[in-house]
């Protein structure tokens, strides 16, 4: 297949950006989207042009490093698929594809298609854990957890931290990411002791960096792991309880 790419190039955080047009020739439909970009970069290097920087690592949809806007959609047209697992058979010969970095105030651009997502780490540091020192845990089977709860916690825990939810949101909000961690830990017995502090702290740090949620639902649609916006409702409920001090009860 042959394709035309319009790619956002930006030399650094403060440099002006622009779209450049490149041709991708002889692309195999079985290759992945990022392998197509590898090929374009090989051509650029051969021509003496600086290759396009993009985020990627595991290339199997789990590390959460990759991500870009592909024709205006976070991670591109295929549902439940991170950019690295998108394959060229999804496109047609002759297509024009527009590539942009995640666009959100909370994710400043570093270079080309690479953004800074460190605000996500700040949210986790504010309470996305259970306080339990190494060596202080009781036997693992002492606390039975209903399969249904464990499965739901796993649904939330499947978040890969890629940032597509923020990129897809018209408000640049990070509710889906934050709620996935809050909900996972707050629904498990292990997470009860810190339940309300966790919700309060994580929501407040989130709001320092990201926009506000207006229930558009774009985040859920863009999420490569299918994280449900139900978790946002769970987080909001715990946050509300946390703010009414003295009325905390599970």
């Amino acid at each position: 297949m042959n394709l035309t790419l319009r790619v956002w190039r930006q030399a650094g955080p403060d440099a002006p950006g622009r779209f450049e047009t490149y041709e991708a020739r002889d692309v195999s439909p079985d290759s992945s989207f990022l392998e197509m970009l590898d090929l374009v970069n090989e051509d650029l290097i051969a021509q003496g042009e600086v290759p396009i920087e993009f985020m990627h690592d595991c290339r199997e949809g789990i590390c959460g490093t990759c991500g870009m806007m592909i024709n205006g959609q976070a991670h591109g047209p295929q549902a439940l698929t991170a950019t690295c697992q998108l394959h060229m058979r999804t496109f047609s010969d002759g297509d024009e594809i527009v590539l942009e970095p995640w666009r959100a105030t909370g994710f400043p651009i570093i270079k080309d298609l690479v953004v800074d997502r460190s605000a996500f780490d700040r949210i986790i540091e504010s309470g996305g854990y259970v306080t339990v020192d190494t060596n202080s845990a009781p036997d693992a089977n002492l606390i039975p957890i209903p399969k249904e709860t464990a499965d739901l916690a796993m649904d939330a825990a499947a978040c890969i931290g890629c940032g597509a939810c923020v990129a897809a949101c018209p408000n640049g909000a990070a509710q889906l990411f934050t709620s996935a961690k809050v909900a996972q830990l707050n629904m498990l017995p292990q997470g009860q002791a810190e339940r309300y502090d966790r919700a309060e702290h994580m929501v407040e740090v989130m709001e320092e960096h990201f926009g506000s949620c207006t229930n558009m639902g774009e985040c859920e649609a863009a999420c490569p792991k299918g994280i449900s916006i139900d978790f946002i409702a769970m987080m909001n409920k715990d946050y509300r309880k946390a703010k009414f001090r003295g009325r905390r009860s599970a």
Binding site: A11, S28, D30, S31, S32, L34, E35, D38, N41, E42, I45, E49, V50, P51, E53, M55, H56, D57, C58, R59, E60, G61, I62, C63, G64, T65, L80, Q85, I110, K111, V114, S118, D121, I124, E125, Y129, V130, T131, V132, T134, N135, S136, A137, P138, D139, A140, N141, I143, P144, I145, K147, A150, D151, A153, M154, A157, A158, I160, L188, Q190
Partner: protein, 639 residues
């Protein structure tokens, strides 16, 4: 040649670790804050070590080249983590896990380390559950288990097909808690490019900020490397794109011995490559072998559609050759068996480069829903990559480089041959011998990081109480930084004609052809002449564009590939020196009549540890004798 001292404590195997914990020197809780420790890498081993050291009160600096500590490739482990809990009463025990691991490693690992690993395996599960890791549960709410290759008990704990992700996130969260508490200073986007050694002790590192290009010096009382393995030497592997051996190779060049580099694991169940430009191979979890049946057509010229090939024309070769383990034969054995049938021309798929992994029986026995519940995300992943639906047609799989058992030589304390330099997780060589069993990598990474290193490092630090750390103005830091800057300037200045990836791919082909699943003297000698020739070309013809002062992935890669060239040579030399077959190291000259690996315990029951001599063509060989007090060396049989 010197004989290495593993510092394995005396006493009965079963109580060595408990006794030794009492014997080791301690650092008083109030004194821990006087020590600084550098931890490089934030995968399972690095993150768990940094978090635990922080909890204990040490001042920790953790480094990762990723943009976040949550991205290391531990995250991609799918199947599970072993522990000797015996929750299912099927006869498991610490001793059985120890025994299986020794046997699975083809009797080339250190008994005392493996026993300790089996002992702490149960603590890992307790710890992770307490952190909120959502392991799979049964309806009664207790933990579920599955079986894995090389074991006849159900001891593998799992979180859907994302066990590595969940364990890594648990460790990342524990680490984040320490970052918030101020005990761990986390440096993201920082790649270690040099180790600094003063008076024979590891005292610091030099890093490059991958975003700004800034070069920085960091000093500490001890340095811990949890930087993973080197499967990316093969270019095509199941590793993430940025996995590399630079940290351990730089340490090797500064005096850390490299043990058993030829012990590489080729995983039996990856998706076969579809074309020349493929950038990586994707693993399909070994857990699929619990319910999938592996076969190829009996006739190399078979042309019927899969569904039309009747039972009698299919060869379920693992079930045929290894009736008691069947499709769950260990990884090295399953991989070689696949190579044999593909080499016979009986491979499947458009390039005839795979074998079938068929779920038709499991779907008819358990129902589609039960199969989807267990493996749904893996089936979806397969379909996304290949465009084929594994509920309807069998998966196609083929072996791929996946794990490296070799690594920096460490003693019982996980200390390398450089005092003050420790190696944990896949970066060291210690626990898996010549072959690692499934679901044991996560176990080892977390065992080292949570339960071993945080205690053994105290024994090194305690006598240094009151001594300040070396300042970063020391001349050794000047030299290390000059070395780093020199390499960057060199590669930016070559101005050649070919990309870094081109050279990496060519190097990978040489290694895969001559130092892959089957090795022989002629091939290894050929590789040892081709690799230096290609490296020479690389040094004079590689093209790295852009500058050193910004994000530049070509520049990141060129240094890693340069180090990989030297490592690749050592892998081949080690493979040539080890005149026997064991585990993942299969020398074609040494096989039984049935084509199984033939060990030579008389001459090779030792670890080979290589010392950098200043010239990659002539490393110095050292040995650690493997003494088996507990286990009788036998020929592995999975029949």
């Amino acid at each position: 040649m010197t004989v290495l001292d593993s510092r394995v404590p005396d006493g009965p195997l079963a109580t060595k670790w408990e006794d030794h914990k009492f014997d080791m020197k301690l650092v008083n809780p109030n004194n821990k804050r006087k020590f600084e420790i550098i931890v490089v890498g934030t995968g399972l081993a690095g993150a768990s070590a940094a978090a635990t050291l922080g909890e204990l009160g040490y001042r920790v600096k953790a480094f990762t080249y990723h943009d976040s500590a949550r991205r290391a490739h531990s995250i991609a482990a799918q199947g599970g983590i072993n522990a000797a809990k015996n929750y299912h009463g099927d006869g498991d025990s610490v001793y059985r896990l120890f025994y299986d691991t020794i046997k699975g490693g083809d009797y080339r690992s250190r008994e005392a380390n493996v026993h300790r690993l089996a002992e702490v395996s149960n603590n890992i599960i307790d710890q992770c559950v307490a952190q909120g890791v959502p392991f799979a549960r049964e309806y009664g709410g207790l933990l579920d288990n599955r079986s894995f290759g090389g074991a006849q008990v159900s001891r593998t704990f799992y979180a859907r097909g994302q066990t590595g992700q969940q364990l890594l996130l648990g460790a990342y969260q524990a680490l984040s808690r320490q970052v918030k508490a101020g005990s761990v200073e986390l440096h993201t986007n920082q790649e270690m490019l040099e180790l600094v050694v003063v008076d024979g002790h590891a005292v610091g590192i030099v890093t490059r900020d991958l975003v700004t290009g800034e070069i920085t010096r960091h000093s500490a009382h001890a340095v811990v490397l949890g930087t993973g393995g080197y499967s990316n030497a093969f270019y095509l592997s199941t590793m993430a794109m940025s996995c590399n051996a630079t940290a351990i190779w730089r340490a090797h060049r500064k005096g850390a011995f490299f043990a058993n580099p030829c012990y590489t694991q080729i995983h039996p169940t990856a998706i076969p490559s579809s074309d020349e430009f493929q950038s990586k191979l994707t693993l399909m979890s070994e857990s699929l072998r619990n319910d999938g049946r592996i076969w190829v057509p009996k006739d190399p010229d078979e042309s019927r559609a899969v569904a039309d090939i009747p039972e009698q024309d299919r060869d379920y070769y693992l079930e045929r050759k290894y009736p008691s383990f069947g499709n769950l034969a260990p990884r090295d054995i399953s991989s070689r068996a696949a190579k044999v049938v593909v080499d016979e021309g009986r491979g499947v798929g458009p390039l005839k480069n795979g074998v079938y992994l068929d779920f038709a029986d499991a779907i008819s026995r358990l129902g589609r829903e039960a199969v989807a519940d267990k493996y749904g995300n893996l089936f979806d992943m397969y379909e996304r990559i290949t465009g084929e639906n594994p509920y309807e047609v069998p998966m196609r799989i083929y072996p791929a480089p996946h794990y490296t058992m070799g690594g920096l030589w460490v003693d019982y304390h996980l200390q390398t041959t450089i005092p003050g330099l420790f190696a944990i997780g896949e970066a060291n060589f210690s626990d898996h011998g010549a072959n690692r069993l499934g679901a044991s990598a996560l176990m080892q990474g977390l065992a080292d990081g949570y339960f071993v290193l945080p205690y053994t490092i105290g024994d090194y630090l305690a006598p240094q109480l009151g001594q300040p750390k070396v300042e970063v103005t020391a001349p050794e830091f000047d030299e290390a930084e000059a070395e780093v800057r020199g390499r960057i300037d060199h590669y930016l200045g070559v101005g050649g004609s070919r990309s870094v990836d081109w050279f990496h791919r060519e190097l990978g082909k040489i290694l895969w052809d001559y130092c892959g699943m089957g090795r022989n003297q002629a091939g290894l000698e050929k590789a040892l002449s081709e690799i230096p020739a290609l490296r020479e070309e690389f040094e004079s013809d590689v093209r790295v564009l852009g500058s050193a002062e910004s994000l530049n992935s070509s520049l990141e890669k060129v240094g890693r590939v340069a180090d990989t060239f030297e490592l690749a040579e050592l892998m081949c030399r080690d493979a040539l020196t080890r005149e026997e077959s064991c585990g993942g190291h299969f020398r074609e000259e040494h096989q039984t009549e049935e084509g199984e690996a033939q060990r030579d315990d008389e001459n090779f029951a030792h670890v080979t540890a290589w010392e950098w001599s200043g010239d990659s063509a002539s490393p110095n060989e050292h040995r650690e004798a493997l003494v088996y007090e507990e286990v009788q060396l036998t020929t592995r049989s999975y029949k």
